[in-house]
């Protein structure tokens, strides 16, 4: 009896925390999204079913924001994945400075997203930005470039900043994954005469995949939920807004809790689709012999 209960007992603290602080609130928010509920009209709250979703999906502003979100998602995930794996393999090489490098690698992560955005605004801003000063000093251009005033340049800037912040986490996860690979496998492969590239392709990549998987999942979620960097770099204007900014504006600026919750749910749906896609790769359990 005791034996059967043990796993549930071990899981209990986690399940209680998740139940109260994640599952219950998420269901509650869903119930908000089915209501007509604008705080500036307290007398006018009613159940409207999927009405909020319909009106959101009909608004061009939502589709514009969705495009921006998808762009950020694609760029951030691509860059973060490639660079993180490279950084992880780099950190895996033992040298006198590898410890220092590891410390340097986690620095961007320690920065709160908003401060991160501000830091990069110092670099990208058209007036006093570093990038423009650098380009002018190097005589690449004599007029400051307006990084933040066209849609795709702005989004690219945001994506780079988010990538910069997301790399440390993914690199660390990949590093942990790389470290978990038994050295004996490599020795065996080498004895069998495998070249470095073959070993990388046949052993390192497939065995690190689950770790890369969780890294990508987490990065995707980060990329879909970018908020502070956009606000710091360009404010809440139409140009660079993604669906999270849209949901924030609707909920807190326009005080429309019903519609705002519906947009939040759509954000979650998007992240959820990606999540389920990755769950499969994650569930491939890591087993060595």
């Amino acid at each position: 009896m005791m034996k059967k209960a043990l796993p549930y007992l071990l899981l209990a603290p986690m399940m209680i925390i998740m139940g109260v602080l994640v599952f219950y609130p998420v269901i509650e928010t869903f119930s908000y999204s089915l209501k007509k509920w604008k705080l500036t009209a307290p007398g006018d709250i009613s159940f409207v079913g999927l009405g909020n979703y319909v009106s959101v999906l009909k608004s061009p502003s939502f589709w514009y924001s969705l495009q921006n979100t998808l762009f950020l998602l694609a760029v951030v995930v691509l860059f973060t994945t490639i660079i993180s794996i490279a950084v992880a393999l780099f950190l895996n090489v033992e040298s006198r400075v590898s410890g220092l490098m590891l410390a340097a690698a986690v620095l961007p992560w320690a920065l709160p997203p908003y401060v991160n955005g501000v830091l990069w605004k110092f670099i990208m801003s058209s007036g006093y930005g570093f990038l423009n000063k650098l380009l002018i000093t190097l005589h690449v251009t004599d007029q400051p470039v307006e990084w933040l005033s066209s849609r795709w340049l702005l989004l690219l800037a945001v994506a780079l900043v988010v990538t910069w912040r997301s790399i440390p986490f993914m690199a660390l996860v990949c590093l942990a994954g790389r470290k978990a690979l038994p050295g004996s496998l490599y020795e065996a492969a080498r004895i069998d005469g495998g070249s470095s590239f073959q070993i990388f392709r046949k052993i390192t990549v497939p065995l690190m995949l689950p770790f890369v998987g969780i890294g990508i999942t987490s990065t995707s979620v980060t990329a879909v939920n970018v908020f502070d960097e956009i606000v710091a770099l360009s404010g809440m204007g139409d140009l660079g807004k993604n669906i999270v900014v849209e949901s924030y504006l609707t909920t807190f600026s326009f005080l429309d809790f019903g519609k705002g919750s519906a947009i939040t749910y759509l954000v979650m749906l998007l992240a959820g689709i990606l999540g389920i896609f990755y769950l499969r790769s994650l569930n491939r359990e890591v087993m060595y012999g």
Binding site: K4, M14, L111, F169, D228, V286
Partner: protein, 276 residues
């Protein structure tokens, strides 16, 4: 020899990209306010002022705000580690090395919460906290951080546990150890590297929490340094210099920690789980 050269080139590139923005932030923090908006194209400030650091590290009002913020962040990190690590270790052990009904379901449910944005939970959480008067309390803030970080840490640890050879644990079980003792004496000691990694993940993610405390913490006694820093950029007085200085100072504790742990991280990982 060829590999060595590539290594150093990558290192230099890597350092420029990671540390460069901080260097620029530092330059901003020592430039006088009006110098920042000037049209000069020189990369180095013409005048240097340490005023921003004097304000932050001095005993004035803003200095006190900042210091309290740092302390609050440290407290939150400590509590998150204390609550989060045991919960994650136990869950990971159950999920990785035990067979029971609903294992897969629970694991998937846990992992899928990674996709839930703060916005989808924050309003109901505020209401719960307001009802039970848990607002403005570092301990209860930390509980939320734990809920946000459990999926990743549990998954990471359980994957690591899965790589520890079954025979080790089975031997212990045959020797008459219970599951819990096998966990404490065999699994845990072999899991140093992943514990350190997970602790680092908890530390850094808690340290950079922003939106949750923004909404749930109002008083000076609970606001973390990230929120304090953002408040130097207010509607009418955007103090770039101080914000940059605060950002730089706020990165010091995690950087020191990472430096201090680097020996454990690297050597620990090398000698870790799979001793042959």
């Amino acid at each position: 020899m060829k590999i060595k050269k590539g290594y150093w080139i990558f290192m230099i590139l890597f350092l420029i990209c990671t540390v460069g923005p901080f260097v620029w932030g530092f330059l901003i923090s020592v430039t006088p306010e009006y110098g920042m908006f000037g049209k000069s194209s020189s990369l180095l400030p013409e005048q240097i002022t340490w005023d921003n650091y004097k304000i932050l590290l001095g005993g004035g009002r803003q200095g006190q705000l900042f210091f309290t913020g740092m302390l609050n962040s440290l407290k939150a990190v400590a509590l998150t580690l204390l609550l989060g690590m045991p919960a994650a270790l136990l869950s990971a052990y159950a999920l990785a090395r035990m067979e029971f009904q609903g294992r897969k379901l629970i694991k998937n449910m846990l992992l899928i919460t990674m996709v839930i944005p703060v916005m989808a939970t924050i309003i109901p959480i505020y209401r719960i906290y307001a009802d039970y008067q848990l607002l403005d309390n570092i301990f209860w803030l930390s509980v939320i951080y734990v809920s946000a970080l459990l999926p990743v840490t549990t998954w990471l640890i359980s994957n690591y546990f899965a790589t520890i050879p079954k025979e080790l644990e089975e031997a212990a079980l045959v020797d008459g150890c219970g599951r819990m003792r096998a966990f404490l004496r065999i699994i845990l000691p072999a899991s140093g590297p992943v514990v350190v990694s997970a602790a680092l993940i908890l530390f850094l993610n808690t340290w950079s929490q922003f939106q949750i405390p923004l909404i749930l913490a109002s008083s000076l006694a609970t606001k973390p340094v990230a929120v304090v820093t953002s408040e130097f950029m207010t509607k009418d007085a955007v103090q770039y210099g101080i914000t940059a200085a605060a950002g730089i100072c706020a990165v010091v504790p995690p950087a020191v920690l990472a430096l201090g742990l680097r020996r454990f991280l690297i050597s620990g990982m090398m000698g870790g789980a799979v001793k042959e």
